[in-house]
């Protein structure tokens, strides 16, 4: 077990290193020169150019640039925003709780929809409910999530005026806060639910064919006990992995959904930074989200090792 965990932890190191290398070169990919791109009209002022080049460390050789960038990175220093002058780390930490809140709420919505539907689908295989929910999940897979958001706004905000079409109030356990969270969370959650539901259905179908399920049934256990205690528990193992893999989709999804609902998280931050050519902020936010994604997947893998003892040996 300890060996398997150690192996998994060690495998994250090169990935994290790779992410930082890619993020480092992101700014250096800017066509021409990041300095000319930021300065725009002011380009041509040699003094300003020189000081900006020095700020980005562009006046030094690449390996030195990477060295000093990486050292500050380890210390949690991602540079300063070009627009607000605040440290990038501060900007990110300001916005992160909102993104986390949206992501967790979406995950909750997704699990609440997908697992019951998956179970119903698998236990009443080829019935009306099964066909119906599989059809809906296939459409859900093909629907761009931001368009689903637009449709929900059309119905619940424009047409019925029940919920706000976007915005945010500081976190509180009150309707005033939750009414802003509801539509974005449902939008993001439903688009994730399609995948999880399909996975739950197929995993449960596979488990239901196992001999221990037949044994449980032949002991005379009630069907609900067979499903809940014997089948579903084992079927949930691959489902947990799928939920973990979806973190990437969840984070990518928040970027778009935050934009649809003007939700003040990392997504709206990175889009604003891109449009303002605030490169250190773009670099920092993307690096942060990628690292967050890797860490979540690591945690999921460790949970997986805990859930399925067979995996501990062949890591």
């Amino acid at each position: 077990m300890i060996r398997a965990v150690g192996f998994r932890l060690a495998s994250v190191v090169p990935v994290l290193l790779g992410i930082s290398v890619i993020s480092f070169f992101l700014i250096r990919l800017v066509p021409g020169d990041v300095v000319s791109s930021i300065l725009g009209q002011d380009y041509g002022d040699p003094e300003l150019e020189a000081s900006m080049r020095e700020y980005f460390g562009l006046d030094r050789p690449v390996h030195e640039q990477f060295g000093s960038w990486f050292t500050s990175l380890i210390q949690g220093d991602l540079g300063h925003s070009m627009r607000t002058g605040r440290p990038v780390t501060e900007e990110i930490l300001d916005r992160f709780p909102q993104t986390l809140e949206l992501a967790l709420a979406a995950l909750l919505v997704s699990v609440a929809i997908s697992i019951p539907l998956g179970v119903i689908s698998a236990t009443r295989r080829n019935g009306v409910l099964d066909t119906g929910s599989r059809l809906i999940s296939l459409i859900g897979l093909s629907l761009p999530n931001f368009w689903l958001g637009i449709l929900l706004v059309l119905v619940f905000s424009v047409h019925l005026s029940w919920l706000p079409s976007g915005g945010y109030t500081p976190f509180a356990f009150s309707w005033d806060h939750f009414k802003y969270l509801l539509l974005p969370a449902v939008t993001l959650g439903t688009s994730l639910a399609a995948v999880t539901m399909r996975m739950t259905r197929s995993a449960l179908l596979e488990v239901l064919n196992q001999e221990y399920v037949r044994t449980a049934r032949s002991k005379g256990l009630r069907e609900i006990v067979v499903i809940n205690r014997h089948a579903l528990r084992n079927a949930l193992i691959p489902v947990v992995t799928v939920i973990g893999i979806q973190t990437g989709a969840l984070l990518g999804g928040t970027v778009v959904i935050e934009q649809v609902f003007s939700w003040p998280g990392l997504g709206t931050l990175v889009i604003r930074a891109i449009s303002q050519r605030d490169y250190p902020l773009v670099q920092g936010t993307i690096l942060f989200l990628a690292v967050f994604y890797v860490v979540v997947n690591l945690i999921v893998d460790l949970i997986y090792l805990y859930l399925d003892p067979r995996l501990r040996h062949d890591a």
């Binding site: 790779g18 992410i19 890619i22 992101l26 761009p144 931001f146 994730l192 984070l251 990628a290």
Partner: protein, 301 residues
């Protein structure tokens, strides 16, 4: 949006299928699959509409008029947008943009990814390690974020959009191909070719690649569906094909701003995206099904 899909590595069943039907065209196996046929029909219709857009579209997609946000019917079959442009013409040209970008991206990504996968799977060792670790690093970024990052750095235009999306789609092809190559390399006929003294290039091109095509074909189809979704999302965020060229994503973004006056600009492009992606997903599912009977219970039928 779902996370980037990859097909399972080929199993015994796939290999068996390959052995039995290696020369059989993929599409023939779809003949008895109604869902697959539906997918193929949708895909063919959309590609046809995109190709024939200049002849089908009643108006110039960028021509403005004074009939702003008109409802469907009358002179605009599907209504008009906030600048009085014909929505039907715009979605037809939007299909062109979307299909062109996705096909170019997935083709480039498959060429690069399949080559890398062949090299990694055939030669193993250090080359395999290096290639696959780089693929893992790219895979470590959430798809949309990586595309976003590359477009942000390079600046939004069509060429950069294609570069960004290609980078994002290469690793899944490399993985799928490598998996297929690893299992096929153990086949007796590859051993035989080796001991007969054939050169590596010939073994790869004559035996390994043709027999790895099945999972690659499935990956190609589902990647097209996903590329259309990612392209639309970037378009919605203002980082896709630059205006005034019509793209489904950017149409939805402007449509949303006027949704209280007219719902059509926020409905029509979304329906187009959904139908197109659904078509590719149905086709991909059916292909996967006919290639791997083991998975048959898992998908729509």
């Amino acid at each position: 949006m779902p996370s980037q899909p990859t097909v399972d590595e080929p199993t015994g069943a796939v290999r068996q299928w390959l052995r039995g039907r290696a020369r059989m065209p993929l599409l023939r196996t779809l003949r008895h699959d109604r869902i697959g046929i539906a997918g193929a029909v949708i895909v063919a219709t959309i590609i046809g509409a995109a190709a024939l857009a200049p002849w089908l579209a009643p108006y110039d997609p960028t021509a403005m008029s004074s009939h702003r946000l008109a409802a469907p019917g009358g002179i605009f079959p599907l209504g008009s947008d906030e600048a009085g442009r014909d929505l039907l013409s715009r979605v037809l040209y939007g299909a062109r943009t979307s299909i062109q970008v996705s096909v170019v991206v997935v083709t480039l990504a498959s060429l690069i990814g399949v080559t890398l996968g062949l090299l990694a799977g055939f030669y193993r060792g250090v080359l395999d390690g290096v290639i696959m670790r780089i693929m893992d690093m790219i895979f470590a970024f959430p798809t949309l974020l990586l595309a976003l990052a590359v477009v942000a750095a390079l600046g939004p235009d069509t060429r950069n959009l294609i570069i960004a999306l290609t980078v994002v789609f290469v690793p899944s092809f490399a993985r799928v191909t490598r998996g297929a190559v690893l299992s096929i390399s153990k086949e007796p006929y590859v051993e035989a070719a080796r001991s007969a003294g054939l050169r590596d290039r010939r073994i790869i091109l004559k035996y390994i690649l043709p027999n790895s095509m099945a999972p690659i074909a499935v990956q190609f189809t589902i990647s097209l569906a996903y590329a259309i979704l990612v392209e639309a999302s970037l378009g919605y965020l203002g980082l896709g094909v630059p205006p005034p060229a019509p793209s489904w994503g950017s149409m939805l973004s402007t449509g949303k701003a006027f949704m209280e006056i007219s719902v059509w600009p926020s409905l029509v492009p979304g329906i187009c995206i959904m139908i197109t992606v659904l078509g590719f997903n149905l086709l991909g599912d059916a292909l996967r099904d006919s290639l791997d009977p083991r998975l048959r219970s898992r998908v729509m039928r």
